[in-house]
Structure formats: C-alpha cells, structure tokens
Amino acid sequence: MSQQKYIIGTFLDEEPLLAAVKEVRATGTPIHECYTPFPVHGLDEALGYSRSRLPRAAFMFGVLGFSLGLSMQAWMLGFDWPMNIGGKPSLAWPDFVPVTFELTVLITALGMVGTYLVACGFIPGSDPKMPDPGVTSDKFCIAIPSNTADYDKINGLLQRLGADSVVEKEVEL
C-alpha cells in the first residue's frame, strides 16, 4: 500500500486523546485511526466503531467444532466399526461429551484467533503500520488524513487539548 499524508497528533495520556477524538469528530473531520499503548476504555465508541463481529465468528467456529466432534465419534464408534462391549450400546453418547467439548473449545479458540489475526492483518513478518514507535510504550496518537482536514484548525485544536506534538507527515497506515 502506498504512503499518504496524515496529521499526527501525539499525546502523553489517554484522557486528552479521548477529548481530542470527540472534538475532532464534532468538527466533522474524519479520523483515520488512533494508536495507544494499551486498550483505552471508550475509545472505540468515541471513534464511532461498531462492535466487533469476532464473537459471531467464534460462535460459528464453536458450532463447527461441536458438530465435527460429535459426528466424528458417532460415525466411528456407532456406524463405521461398532464394537460389542458387554452388549452395551455402541452409540453411547454420554461417553462422547468430553471429546465433543474439547474439540468445540479447540476449534473455537483456533478459529477465532486466526480470524482476529487475519482481520487485523497481523501476519508473521508483516511491518507495523503505525505513526510513531512510541505508541507501544507511552505515546497516544491520533491520525487524521490531510486531504480532508484543515491543518491550522486541527493543529490549534490538538495543541489546545495539550498535544505533545502535532506534525504532518507521509506514512503508511
């Protein structure tokens, strides 16, 4: 992907970043994304993000794991090679509960984490698309695309809220 020009405002705490997100959105200027060292409570709502659909993916992987686990055991022991164990029923479903449960958990966990990594574009070896390496330590950044923003206005707003620095630069985000 190509580089683009962004206004990057950097804060040293989460509260001014949250305030900045609210004020910038109030002016109608679109925000590209925010970058923080830890999950800031309420930031996703302030940015207007809808709830993550990962729980739905997890549920579907769970259904898949459950059906695969149960049908595998039922087919193997009930139909493909039924064994006579003291005349007891070969489709002994209570015995299938533990393995069905384990496979449900296993496939849900692996499927959901895989979905999460792919959705975020986190693949081993990919380069981080971030405005400043400090965001994984102590910096809180807001990135606003330059082409839809008025630099002077945004600069004034971010400075007033206590930004540590406001710069305009070409980065790949």
């Binding site: 060292p37 996703d44 533990p98 958990v105 400090g134 994984t136 330590s137 102590d138």
Partner: protein, 470 residues
C-alpha cells in the same frame, strides 16, 4: 474509572507509562545476571539428566522402572498428574480472574501462564513414555489405518485425557501468545538490528490501533470464557482416569472437584515459589507487590481447605459405604506400609495452608516461600498416595506387592524439573514476564500515586482508610 481509595495499591512507588516499559523490558535488553546463568546452568544440567534417563529408557524399555504387575502406575503417572495440576494456576489466573475483572491478575498472569504451558509440556512427557513406544503415539488419535479402520475408543477416559491435555496445551499457548503480541511489539519498537528483526517477526506487525485493541479485548474475553470450563474439564478428566475404574480408593464420585481444587492449590503454590524469586531477582517488587502475594495466599487457603475436606470426606465415605475393600484401602493408606506418604500429604496439604489464616504470615515472604514449597511436596505425595497405595494391595492378597522407584524414575523426575526450569529461565530472559500493556491499563485505578491523588481530591485521610500507603 473510579476506584475507592481504600483499595490497596497494585503498583507501588512512582509510576509512568514509560517507566513501566523500562522496568519490564530492560532485563530483556541487558546481559543476563550471574544469578540467571547460575540458575540456567543448574537447570540445563538437570535437563541433561532427563535426556540421559529417557535415552536409557527408550533403548532398554519401561522395565527399567520399578513397576511390577500389581503396581503398574508409579512415579510416571504420579508425576504426570502432579505436573498437570501445577499447570492449572496460569489459565485460572488469566481466564477466571479476567472474567471476574480482578485487576491484580495483570501482574502475575503472564508468568503464571508461561508456567502452565511448561508444566503441561512436562506432564505430557510422562504418558508419552509410559505408553512404551512413543514413536507410535499417533495411534491415540483417530486416524484412518490399515486395521479396518479400527478407530480409537472414545469410551475410554484415557482417550478423553489425550484430547483434554492436548486441547489445554494448545488453547493455553494461543491465549498466552495473543496477550504477548502487543508486548513483543513494545520490545521491537525499542530495539535495533537483529533483535528488532526477531521481535518484529514475533509481534506479527502489531500497531496498537484502536480497532486492533477492540478486537484484542473481544478475543481475550471469549478465550477467557472458553478457557474457564476448559481448565475445570482438564483435571476433571484426569480424575476420571481413576474414578471410572473399579480400584478401591479410586472409584469415587468426589474425584473431579477434589482434583480440580488440588490442581489450583498446587498451581498457585508453584506460582508463588517462582514469583517470589523472580520479583526479587528481576527487581519487580513494584509490580508484584505484597498485596498480590496476599491474595494468592488466600486462594491457597481456600483450595487447601477444600482439599482437606475432601480427604476427610473420602475417609468418612469409605467407612459409611460399608464396603470392606474400600474401608481397607483407606485404613491401609493411613496405617499401612505407606503410612509415611499419607501423613506427609496430610501435614503439607491440610495443616500448612491453615497457617494462612494469619495475615502476618500471608504477608511474610520467607514464610510464604517455605509454605509454598510444602504445598508442592504435599501435592506430589497426594498423587503418590492415591496411585500407589490404592494399587499395591488389591482384591487378591496373593498379588500384594510393594513399589519403589529406580534411579531411572528419580532421574526422570529431577530431569523434568530441569526441563521446566530451563524453559522458564529462557522465558524470563527473552519475553516480558509481566503483561506490560495490561499493567498500564490499571495505572489510573490501582497505582499508589493515583490512590493518593484521589484521596487528596476527595479530602479523605489515607491514614484512616488505607494505612499501608500513608
């Protein structure tokens, strides 16, 4: 988020986000200390003993163990159950405590989870070798084969165990790694050269964006929800290896909850043993505070009491059942030839944790360290008592036998400790031992500085409500 200033601090001293990063990442960037080399050297030597004994075992056969036809589960299964039990605290801390929103979890979850994974790896080696021919261990999986296909028997708890342990290891590893990604990125962004490349590869291009954090929290919450019943299922299924048999002393319905409580009990003891050393050697006292140790001791007290009640209940039920074999199994446990193992277990597991009713002892680090070692020993004896004393005198007095381990079994046990500690030392050197991002997220509620600020703003006298800080 508001939090009352009467809470005890979870981060002591001066705090800032940059300082947290520094405190936790610096030991990874610095050359290891003498203590690290010493500990690592001893662990690797023990690991060498493991390779030696396992090699000898594989070339000769399981006959080199002291097992006989009456006692056919000995130190191998004892150590397996002991290690699996130790591997219960990590996921319990990170999953159950996440669901309960316990903030003290943030400082201890990373290393506890690492410990879990290493303990489960150690546990896994035992059934693998006990099976006799580890090169055909894939037979336990339901793979198509030329015998029919003759499938694995899903009616057997031993097979449930295969699925439980392997799922537990995989899910714990995934859960741990998902949490590690942001922190590995923190190391990456401070590093240069080769280290930057390696941590860059390991951190998958993490960028700390709001969307990534939103998904991260969603994934963590669901993984926690999945891991919680999983933790409980693992030792439940391990206990069914015993409970579904008809051996007196094993055939009891109390086993699943009793094993799970015992697992959490021993897991927390091992976490304390490791963390008490780690916080000192790596100078992490500001993050793993005496308050963390205090709450973990309370969990040890609770689970230890559950385990103690289970021992007494078992004895009572054996008498109340009026089954002579069951009664004999229990009398034999306490007063038979293995009485010393039984009383070692009772002393270490029932009496020592009761000392934690005293707050003074809960907050006395040398005392906690010694008690945690006692619990580790006691839980090992519990597994030994359950397995060996139940087996060695079965229904037929003519086949009664005694069992003692050979040097190979002892060497393998010391060796598996070596495997465990080698992995733990490598982890402590190369990975952030405290969840950096998670600790930062509690600064605004639970840091000592923040509590002082809130109290000042509200005009509360800290001397009255929170004397520890004042």
């Amino acid at each position: 988020m508001y939090e009352s200033p009467i809470r005890r601090p979870l981060i002591t001293g001066k705090t800032s986000y940059a300082k947290i990063t520094d405190d936790i990442v610096t030991p990874i960037e610095a050359t290891p200390t003498k203590w690290w080399y010493l500990g690592f050297g001893v662990s690797v030597a023990a690991l060498g003993l493991w390779l030696l004994t396992v090699g000898y075992l594989l070339f000769t056969g399981v006959g080199v163990w002291g097992l006989n036809k009456t006692v056919d589960w000995g130190w191998d299964i004892t150590n397996f159950v002991w290690w699996v039990g130790i591997g219960h605290a990590g996921t319990l801390i990170s999953a159950v405590l996440l669901l309960f929103r316990q903030k003290w979890r943030t400082a201890v979850n990373r290393s506890a989870e690492a410990m879990t994974i290493f303990a489960v790896i150690c546990a896994g080696t035992y059934p693998l070798l006990h099976a006799g021919r580890p090169w055909v261990i894939y037979w336990v999986f339901p793979l198509p084969n030329t015998y029919g296909s003759l499938w694995a028997n899903f009616n057997s708890p031993l097979l449930w165990d295969v699925f439980a342990i392997s799922t537990y290891l995989t899910v714990s590893l995934v859960f741990w790694y998902v949490g590690l990604i942001p922190d590995l990125a923190t190391i990456r962004d401070r590093a240069e050269g080769l280290r930057k490349k390696i941590y860059g590869l390991l951190s998958f291009g993490w960028n700390g964006s709001a969307k990534a954090w939103q998904r991260f929290e969603s994934v963590s919450l669901i993984l926690a929800g999945l891991a919680t019943p999983l933790v409980l299922s693992v030792h439940t299924i391990v206990s069914m290896d015993f409970a579904t048999s008809v051996i007196p002393g094993w055939h009891t319905t109390i086993f699943p909850p009793y094993f799970v409580a015992g697992a959490v009990f021993s897991g927390f003891a091992m976490v304390l043993t490791l963390l008490i050393i780690m916080r000192k050697v790596m100078r992490l006292e500001a993050y793993i505070t005496i308050n963390h140790i205090d709450v973990m001791n309370k969990i040890i007290l609770v689970t230890g009491s559950i385990v103690g009640s289970a021992y007494i209940t078992e004895f009572f039920i054996a008498w109340y059942s009026a089954v002579p074999y069951e009664q004999y199994a229990f009398i034999n446990r306490a007063f038979g030839p293995y009485w010393w193992a039984y009383w070692a277990m009772m002393t270490c597991n029932v009496i020592t944790p009761q000392l934690f009713w005293s707050q003074k002892l809960r907050r006395n680090i040398p005392a906690v360290f010694i008690i945690s070692i006692f619990v580790n020993i006691g839980m090992w004896f519990e597994r030994f008592v359950i397995i060996v004393t139940s087996l060695h005198r079965d229904y037929l007095p003519s086949s009664w036998a005694m069992y003692s381990p050979t040097w190979v079994e002892i060497g393998m046990f010391i060796g598996s400790l070596g495997l465990f500690f080698t992995l733990f030392f490598l982890f402590a050197k190369f990975a952030p031992v405290i969840a950096i991002a998670e600790v930062k997220s509690i600064v605004k509620t639970s840091a000592e500085e923040h509590i002082k600020k809130t109290a000042e703003k509200e005009g509360i006298d800290l001397k009255e409500v929170n004397p520890q800080i004042a």
